[in-house]
């Protein structure tokens, strides 16, 4: 009877500890993801502002600074994307589709469509704790209308 009871207690303990650890892991993973996502939201918004600001030169005022946008995003997100490869796509080229981005890589791109500048961050951070059924991927966009200076 005592052996049976201690065995039962062990099984119950194992179940509760397993569940508790699963919840703890899920909460930790979600917290890390939220921090990364917050940085990404701030980053793409900052990148969009840089891009919309115009470039140097005679025709620069109405030319979006696409080349300056991706480094601005990278500067903000890199401290929280530890171990993740951050790839800055060359200006005016859109980010590749999901299938072309390997896990552990984040792509940042800036494009212009008509008068609107779009800065996008897309990929899967390396530090995300993998939990089946939960997709900790990042795909964030900031759009802003470019500055218009009339002569």
């Amino acid at each position: 009877m005592r052996v049976y009871e201690s065995g039962q207690a062990l099984v119950e303990f194992a179940m509760v500890v397993g569940l508790f650890l699963m919840c703890l892991l899920g909460a930790t993973s979600a917290s890390v993801y939220t921090i990364q996502r917050s940085a990404a939201v701030t980053g793409v918004a900052a990148g969009a502002r840089v891009a919309a600001g115009g470039t140097l030169g005679s025709v620069g005022a109405n030319t979006p600074n696409l080349a300056g946008a991706t480094p601005a995003v990278a500067r903000i997100v890199s401290p929280v994307l530890i171990g993740t490869h951050i790839r800055q796509i060359e200006p005016a080229r859109d980010c590749p589709p999901w299938s072309a981005i390997p896990p552990g890589e984040i792509d940042i791109c800036a494009v212009q469509t008509a008068g609107v500048v779009t800065v996008r961050l897309r990929g899967r951070p390396a530090t995300a704790i993998s939990i089946p059924g939960l997709d900790w991927s990042l795909d964030l966009v900031a759009e802003v209308h470019a500055v218009t200076f009339t002569a």
Partner: protein, 138 residues
């Protein structure tokens, strides 16, 4: 003796039946709080960009509101749980004057697992003010 064992098994089952849903509710509630904070941040970023776009339009033009709306909806359209609402106040930019935008959105958990613990939508708001560069001539 058999009666006592059956009682213990029943007790363990009851304990498990109470613990598992409770832990799930706690986890989903925790996620819901994170999403709430995240949604506010996303709305703040979109509204801030909208204000920046409004002062980027030619001075005295009705394009300010159009640029702001285009920027705001373009930035917010990607989130399935965040439905853009109204964007007010992004009136025509005038040199030297600030432009203030006020945006609202509906945060709806019901299409996510968090809808089990928060089965109703939240109304969230944000405001942002932008000024154009002092050196801008028009």
């Amino acid at each position: 003796m058999d009666h006592a064992r059956r009682g213990q098994r029943g007790q363990a089952l009851l304990e498990t039946a109470i613990t598992i849903p409770l832990m799930l509710v706690l986890l989903l509630g925790f996620l819901a709080v994170l999403v709430r904070v995240e949604a506010q941040l996303e709305l703040d970023a979109a509204t801030s960009l909208a204000a920046a776009a409004a002062v980027a339009a030619p001075a005295g033009s009705s394009l300010s509101a159009e640029y702001a709306r285009q920027t705001w909806t373009g930035t917010l359209r990607q989130y399935s749980y965040l439905r853009p609402g109204r964007l007010d106040g992004c009136s025509a930019y005038e040199p030297g004057q600030p432009v203030t935008c006020r945006g609202s959105a509906l945060l709806d958990y019901r299409e996510t697992p968090m809808g089990l613990v928060v089965p109703y939508p939240f109304h969230i708001e944000s405001a942002a003010t932008a000024r154009s560069s002092t050196y801008r001539s028009r």
